[in-house]
Symmetry: C2
Subunit: 252 residues, 2 copies
DNA sequence: ACGATTTTGTGAATGCCTTCACAAGGGCGT
DNA sequence: ACGCCCTTGTGAAGGCATTCACAAAATCGT
């Protein structure tokens, strides 16, 4: 059985795998194009979350040398049902060819564009604890279009040292750092007790997109997007389903 | 070594913060009590995801010495609207007192019970790369009811060493480890290329709840729950919203 | 050229989840 | 004891999202 994620709080989208499931929403954020506005380029939040999954699936296909895929095949790789996939892609426009499928390269390009990945977005990492270091060394970043442009911490013992070619900056220099590197997105990997303060500073400095790993609900102005990832919550959700399996299920 | 996932990709659910937003679903999984069945203790998936958030909020209140809270206040701390909170809690039963609010200790206890946290659930961590180490050292685990019971990797260079008092076991001993520690939940923090294999082994060993940090869609039997956390996907979702802000919005 | 075949794109139906709004319930002061 | 006031619990309404199912479109073989 599967359950839906929601815990780790972050968000993201996921793809359901086996059977239909309800998906909880997750993050704390935002809707951009109002659902009400038929603006020709409105993309549902649930769809945006899945676009990232499709992108990864397309990457796998491309590496396998596949030039074209049907919605059925791509859906299988992405772990969703084909009708959903087609509806999702239809929000981007008509990039498929009836009777043939989708051109892997073209579709990749379109999703990239839709997600705004064609323009470089500088990411700042705040907090160099265990998690922060793991994130800093995370190869998946670069391979999927992001590179950390700045690292910030408050501990004088590590400010000034370098990691991956970047000098660790002090949190008090946040304003300068944000402007200097033109930071668009910040990743908060500090203890819960410091998260809101760091968040406020980021907002003041002009950052409008935040990925929060601290187990706290952040208060931000309406124009700021926050997504959160809460590991303990994820485990608790799994625990819920697990306990039900043991109880009702019966055997096994 | 099985190290870094490469996708950090997974994700969870989130709670919405500021304004209404649509929440994408995410994981790949399932529903336990069928929505159709009015089984008196059915809890919607979206609600389960939020229970973890409420639990954290209650913890904060308890530490602040608060004995009772109204749905309004608790909702504020948890970052949701009060009607939603009340409806969520109503699935657990009637633990509030009209005109007064909810007893913090009692409600905490009830949510704990609902999530199955009263019984200990042993968690195994697979993969000791950057991320795995960060997770192993993550204090938030213990404080929220989980403790890592076993650590597993494939790198002979680290198998046998100890971390946090635990001996690192070899992946080939998975069956024994799962039985010995009575593992209920496994956290996959290995590279994407090894994820499906590790997952298959876990399923074979009898694990039915998996938290996947590798950026891959895992195939599992219907009785297994998988939740995923995909960092890159999270950033891509933020990127999408960020690009729209720049475009339409106009001035900052 | 044409028709068979394949696969997309999408209108319509269904189902969750969220939000609204209020009646029922319980404490507290007098 | 009574009544006022506060807050819960929940029926009903409204929104998104998912799924269905099929007509439209494009290739390929003959």
């Amino acid at each position: 059985m599967i359950s839906q994620p929601d815990g780790l709080d972050a968000v993201g989208a996921a793809a359901d795998q086996p059977r239909p499931a309800a998906a909880p929403d997750q993050s704390q954020a935002v809707a951009h194009g109002q659902p009400g506005l038929p603006g020709h380029d409105y993309v549902p939040e649930a769809t945006v979350a899945r676009l990232a999954v499709y992108l990864r699936a397309l990457l796998v296909l491309r590496e396998a040398g596949t030039a074209t895929v049907s919605s059925e095949s791509l859906a299988a790789v992405a772990g969703v049902n084909s009708a959903k996939l087609r509806k999702d892609l239809s929000y981007l426009g008509s990039y498929g060819v009836r009777g043939v499928g989708y051109d892997v390269a073209l579709l990749t390009e379109q999703i990239h564009k839709t997600l705004g990945l064609h323009e470089d977005r500088a990411v700042a990492l705040i907090g160099l604890g265990h998690l922060g270091r793991a994130l800093a060394g995370y190869a998946g970043f670069a391979s999927r279009g992001f590179q950390i442009a700045a690292i910030v911490d408050a501990d004088p013992a590590i400010v000034g040292s370098t990691l991956g070619g970047l000098r660790v900056e002090h949190i008090d220099d946040l304003d300068r750092v944000v402007k200097e590197y033109n930071i668009a997105i910040a990743v908060i990997a500090v203890p819960a007790s410091a998260a809101q303060d760091v968040c406020d500073r980021l907002v003041t400095a002009g950052v409008t997109s935040i990925l929060n790993f601290a187990p706290t609900v952040l208060s931000v102005p309406a124009h700021v997007d926050v997504r959160k990832v809460d590991l303990a919550a994820e485990l608790q959700i799994l625990s819920f389903h697990d306990s039900r399996k043991a109880a009702s299920g019966g055997a096994r």
